[in-house]
Amino acid sequence: MDVMPRWADVVLIPLISLALAAILSALVIVGIGEDPVAAVSLMVKGALGSTYGWGYTLYYATNFMFTGLAVSVAFHAKLFNIGGEGQAMLGGLGVAIACLYVPWPHWTLALIFASLAAALFGAAWAAIPAYLQARRGSHIVITTIMFNFIAAAVLNYMLVVVLRPKGAMDPASARFPEAVHLPSFQEMFSTADTALFRGAPANITFFVALAACVVVWLLIWRTRLGYEIRAYGHSETGARYAGISPFRITMIAMLISGALAGLMAINNVMGEAERLVLNATEGAGFIGIAVALMGRSHPFGVFLAAILFGFLYQGGAELALWTDIPRELIVVIQALVILFTGALDNMVRMPLERLFLRLRGGNG
């Protein structure tokens, strides 16, 4: 039998890890001379206390769902895709090209094709590391890191040299035409008397992200391809025995992963900025790692973890606005979550396993 019941593995361990991260974060806040209780209440109020706050929280969560799913799909094939950031940058480029150079008659069409472009660009950016891993054994972690930097250079070049409108100073593309404007939550949910989500960037992409969660769940747990991805992730020799091609699975898993990371761009580039700027991704690609680890690579877990990080992001911004606590606090929290749910997993797990072993011994 397994040492621990399933619920302990799926729920208890992430919760303990999260608690450890929270305690340490509180200590950090105390360490810089601030009051953690006040900070948390400010974060809750700022991120969840109004539809405006929710509008930001869900906007960030949308980004993190995409990048979290991207990391998760690769994880299932035992591939560590650190390249979500670069893939999301390239996704943004795809969205910008689709929105700027095609006169879309309506946002729905634009959304569909911009999504395709984002996914295509993201997948293409993941394709080279995937191919090098599958065919030449180049470590995908290193190549995807390198591709993040290369992506930054590509984006920089495109914005400075190609996409920047004549006479503009900013390294940014022109503003997208009005026709491709995506409905924001404000436009979707406000009634004539009450304005909801006013000024918040959450938009229809949130529902695309929810759909992506469902699709990824179906893919991983309900399809033959998902079965093969998981089988390959658990045992490469087993996959060879069963006639599952390692090359094919590595390529497909990474292409899906890259496409999901790229899809993030319809939220931040098309939905929010409505033009392509240099630092559009704001590190969301990396937060995907924390989200996937915390969500145990399961789409529902990713959904919850993305909301949590959305809350942290928005709450952190509020903190930076009203107190002396810089926004980097959330980077620390993010680091601690990755540390405890990822690298120090055994530190939480081993004592817990001993505890369960003792409990079972006591019963038996």
Binding site: M146, F149, I150, V332, I338, G342, A343, D345
Partner: protein
């Protein structure tokens, strides 16, 4: 391009190559012992901040250096705890350490100095001053060799000379001492080391600690030698370029030096020129920025001689019969 320009570019190559070299050798020790380290960046960043902060407060750059090394060592210990003691994923641990450093440095900088995540500018004894080598002024007038000696070789801070001395020292340690033999063995096959009666955990912690010290020096050089103070994210990917150089050098000390000088040279060129005009073909500065990474991918792909990492790299050691 005249001779003096070349000397100046090479001079900044040495300056920019120094932090890369220190970090690269740091990674070499760690990875040769079988511990992958993508947290070089974070360790350097933490060291950069604490060295600058302590130097600013105390006025002593040496105290700053010590603080930088201590900060880097603390993060190295965390990496060791995660990847050696708790047998966690070394890559994930490295990612966490990078973010931890990125966040904490700004947080603490803001708390201590309130200047938006930077330290005050360092002056006087709070910085590593250039050292003028003997007779540098006298021979400056000698054609060719004079400027090479007085401009290129002389006039760097002590950490630069330390970094380049670390190359033969590393080579010697790796290939001529008992420690080096064991270190290389533990990165290739920890079981062989274990059954030979040598502690795998001890060796790996030692390697990670050396890595911490070297990253600490690299960070301190950035903030107190190359520049005069800490600014947010000042490592700017140097930890990853060092990692790239390490792969480029196939985990060998002398090759690491050449790789770091090459990447330092690329940075020096990119700093000096926006776009390079090669007889009609204009190379945009972004290509120079991306070149170290592109070269690394090419090397990793095995098109120019395959880079094979230490065999036990990345795998936690579990005793097996």
């Amino acid at each position: 391009m005249d001779f003096l320009t070349i000397i100046q570019i090479l001079d900044s190559t040495v300056r920019l190559g120094t932090p890369l070299l220190l970090a690269c050798l740091a990674g070499l020790f760690s990875e040769r012992a079988g511990i992958f380290d993508i947290g070089l960046e974070g360790k350097m960043l933490a060291a950069a901040f604490f060295s600058a902060a302590v130097a600013a407060v105390s006025g002593s750059v040496w105290l700053g250096l010590a603080a930088g090394i201590a900060a880097s060592l603390a993060l190295a210990a965390l990496h060791g705890l995660a990847s050696i003691t708790f047998r966690g994923n070394q890559l994930i641990s490295g990612v966490a350490i990078n973010f931890l450093a990125a966040g904490l440095t700004v947080l603490i900088a803001q708390d201590w100095f309130g200047q938006g995540g930077r330290t005050p500018s360092l002056v006087g004894g709070a910085r590593f001053e250039p050292i003028t080598l003997p007779f540098a002024d006298h021979v400056a007038a000698v054609p060719i060799l004079g400027p090479i000696y007085s401009e290129l070789l002389s006039g760097h801070s002590i950490l630069v000379y330390l970094a380049f001395l670390a190359v033969p020292a590393t080579w010697w340690m790796l290939y001529r001492t008992r420690f080096g033999l064991r270190l290389r063995a533990v990165g290739e096959n920890p079981a062989a080391v274990d059954t030979a009666g040598v502690s795998v955990v001890g060796l790996r912690y030692a390697a990670v600690a050396i890595c911490g010290v070297l990253c600490g020096i690299a960070g301190a050089y950035l903030a107190t030698g190359l520049q005069a103070g800490f600014v947010k994210d000042m490592t700017a990917g140097r930890g990853f370029i060092a990692l790239a150089a390490l792969i480029f050098a196939k985990w060998r000390p002398w090759h690491a030096m050449w790789a770091c000088l090459l990447f330092g040279f690329l940075q020096a060129i990119a700093l000096r020129y926006q776009n390079i005009d090669l007889g009609g073909l204009v190379i945009p500065v972004q290509v120079m920025d991306a070149l170290p990474y592109i070269l690394t991918v090419v090397i990793l792909a095995g098109f120019v001689g395959k880079a094979i990492p230490p065999r036990a790299g990345g795998e936690p050691y579990v005793k097996e019969r």
